[in-house]
């Protein structure tokens, strides 16, 4: 899939939090854009399993007016599915009308009857339109029917601010999805993890929602050539440190890492935990890290009230209480919609500076 000269061998950061690849594991791969890894991984899964198909608006996009053949003019928002319709055809790369409830419902029906649908919901905000099908059907079917069926459905969408898309195209409310029993939610933070988590999501027999922060999509990083399944529900360390734990998810893992680098210059060694999964999530890595550092700052772009940031804070306050030396702090988006103006939008999103000043205040306060 990758050209020879782009292939590199890298040692992948390995730690107790990362199960695959294990300690000392070496893997050949490529430095590429997140979007390209995403596309390549979709392709691998389509190749691997004939029951996998993708459905969404404009995922090929455009048809030849004479032949009615799909043109792949769009190839999906942010080109996530670019080039796939040529190789897999319009039945497996299925353009859908603008009816999210209808086609998510149809995907649930297809999943209940043996296929493995992958749904592109475009912007994360549109999940609200399909919310009932997601919550009442996808997430509950297995339970309310007494375990007699399963729903091997994957959904993905683009979240977050940073592109001037304003209030109805910039949400990160994955907290709400993580709240739903029966649904799984994953938030990869770089090419390596999206490669492993997208494969896991598609191969998983439960409904899984994969969130792509728009700010990650054009970022580059190392991704293995071979496809692999990163375990759902596992976090990883991005950096070790003894002074404070920074917990990030999706793009805020990048923010935490940047903040940790800035703090390191001041002699403060922060440990960075990248959650990667929100439901299930890795309680152990949180507790383990906080037991060591005795301080925690949770960083999330989602709005704060009843959020995953609250959840992680609650877990710390329960399970790591005896090890805490300072109040549990959250750095999140404010309890507001996402504004349009660039300056306001930037202020909405947690920045490395916000994390740094929170850590400083925490250490000063002791």
């Amino acid at each position: 899939m990758t050209t020879a000269d782009a292939t590199q061998t890298r040692s992948v950061l390995s730690d107790p939090g990362v199960l695959v690849p294990g300690p000392g594991y070496e893997v050949s791969g490529t430095v590429e854009r997140y979007r390209d890894t995403f596309n390549r991984t979709l392709r691998d899964e389509l190749d691997r399993d004939a029951d996998v198909f993708i459905m969404g608006e404009d995922i090929s996009g455009g048809f030849d007016r004479d032949t009615n053949e799909p043109l792949d003019a769009w190839g999906g928002p942010f080109a996530a599915t670019k080039g796939l319709v040529q190789d897999f055809g319009p039945d497996r790369i299925r353009d859908a009308p603008i009816s999210e409830a209808g086609f998510v419902g149809a995907a649930v029906g297809a999943a209940l009857t043996g296929l493995r649908p992958v749904v592109d919901l475009m912007y994360f905000d549109f999940v609200t339109v399909a919310y009932d099908q997601l919550l009442s059907n996808a997430a509950k079917s297995r339970y309310m029917f007494g375990g007699q069926t399963k729903v091997p459905l994957t959904l993905f969408a683009r979240s977050g601010g940073g592109t001037g898309h304003a209030a109805q195209h910039s949400e990160s409310f994955y907290s709400m999805l993580a709240h739903i029993p029966g649904l799984k939610v994953v938030v990869p933070s770089d090419p390596y993890t999206v490669r492993g988590l997208l494969a896991s999501a598609i191969r998983d027999d439960d409904p899984v929602f994969l969130v792509n922060d728009k700010k990650l999509i054009n970022m580059e990083g190392f991704a293995p050539d071979e496809s692999f399944a990163f375990p759902l529900g596992k976090g990883r360390y991005l950096k070790h440190g003894d002074d404070v734990t920074l917990i990030g998810m999706s793009y805020t893992s990048v923010v935490c890492k940047q903040a940790a680098d800035m703090l390191a210059e001041e002699g403060i060694e922060a440990e960075v935990v990248d959650m990667l999964s929100l439901s299930p999530f890795d309680e152990e890595i949180i507790v383990e890290s906080v037991m060591k550092t005795n301080r925690v700052v949770i960083v999330d772009e989602d709005t704060p009230r009843a959020s995953m940031a609250s959840e992680f804070a609650a877990i710390v306050a329960d399970k790591a209480f005896d090890y805490l030396d300072a109040p549990v702090k959250r750095v999140t988006g404010p309890h507001t919609p996402v504004p349009y103006n660039k300056g306001l939008e930037t202020a909405f999103m947690p920045q490395p500076d916000d994390v740094v000043s929170t850590v400083r205040a925490m250490l000063d306060g002791e």
């Binding site: 209808g102 419902g105 149809a106 296929l115 009932d132 079917s141």
Partner: protein
């Protein structure tokens, strides 16, 4: 229309089974043996019966809060159904679903669904699976839904999807003229629901839903079209529920006695019995034999359910996901 003797028998047996199941279930509900709310479908038996007469276990149906008739017509076991309504571990869903969530995936039954309209796209999805697999087993999807459900957006979306993708699906609108206490003339902006098919460029047929032969015939054509790859059909089946909306509802508050009488006159069982005995296709003795068998079946179902154990409390935590045990088994 030619119907084999066997099929004829099946039609009667199925309608009568539904009727007696609803009556028996209601009786048990009023005795306090059902654990929640139940929505009986007596009066509407001809609809699922006439439609499912054309289906096999490979075909899929989506159902509603008023789903017992669909289940029975699709071949579900009345013992497991009764046990489910009584919340027993031997129930169709281990007692975790109840009346509004009876499903049997081994029989092509995608589940009763308590969100009005929400099961319609599921049947479309089942049809999509069939078409995706090249119609190799010729299976079709049937979406049952009420007149009230036609106001739900997802039903519109489902018809549009099925139409543009030419999916093998039958939209079976059971127009019993009421959604809870709200009459269709108030809530539905068209006289003939079947005519809405034009909006999707698909055939729409209005059928007397009290006459199982009329249903059988119209459904036969729709199913044949679907199996032949000719796309979806919308059937509007004019019918009536004898009981209130749910077990404890009194429909007399919002319906007139003459309206009910008119439908009782045209009762699907009575109509069937009259016709087959008149035409000499079945004898009164044969019919009585069937009724007796079913009477016994109902008794057995009730006994089975009442004597079945409750699910162990651990069942609260299972079946949330396939592949890992629930990490948050209640924060206690």
């Amino acid at each position: 229309m030619r119907i084999t003797k066997e099929k004829l028998r099946w039609l009667y047996e199925t309608m009568y089974r539904i009727r007696r199941f609803e009556e028996t279930m209601l009786e048990q509900t009023f005795r306090g043996n059902a654990m929640g709310v139940t929505h009986p479908s007596d009066g509407q038996e001809a609809v699922p019966t006439g439609i499912c007469a054309h289906l096999t276990e490979k075909d899929w149906i989506g159902s509603t809060h008023r789903g017992h008739g669909h289940c029975i017509a699709k071949g579900l076991d009345t013992k497991a159904m009764m046990a489910e309504i009584m919340g027993r571990y031997t129930g169709q869903c281990k007692g975790k679903g109840g009346s509004m969530h009876i499903a049997d995936f081994s029989k092509g039954m995608l589940g009763a669904n308590a969100i009005v309209g929400a099961s319609v796209p599921l049947a479309v999805g089942a049809a999509l699976t069939s078409k995706y697999r090249g119609m190799e087993d010729e299976s079709v999807g049937v979406a049952f839904f009420g007149d009230g459900a036609t106001s739900q957006g997802v039903v519109h979306e489902s018809m549009n999807l099925a139409a543009i993708w030419d999916l093998p699906v039958i939209f079976a609108c059971e127009n019993n003229q009421y959604a809870e206490a709200t009459p269709a003339w108030y809530a539905v902006s068209t006289e003939d629901i079947a005519a809405r098919a034009d909006s999707y460029g698909i055939p729409g047929v209005q059928v007397d839903g009290m006459n199982v032969f009329a249903v059988y015939e119209a459904a036969g054509e729709a199913v044949a079209r679907a199996r032949a790859g000719e796309g979806p059909t919308l059937l509007e089946l004019k019918t009536y529920r004898y009981h209130g909306h749910f077990h404890a509802d009194d429909p007399k508050k919002y319906r007139k006695p003459d309206e009910e009488e008119e439908y009782l006159e045209r009762d699907c069982l009575k109509h069937f019995e009259g016709l087959v005995t008149q035409q000499g296709a079945m004898t009164e003795e044969e019919l009585q034999g069937i009724r007796d068998e079913i009477e016994q079946e109902m008794q057995d179902a009730v006994d089975f359910a009442l004597n079945s154990p409750m699910p162990p409390i651990d069942e609260l935590y299972s079946d949330v996901y396939v592949d890992y045990s629930n990490p948050l088994a209640g924060l206690r």
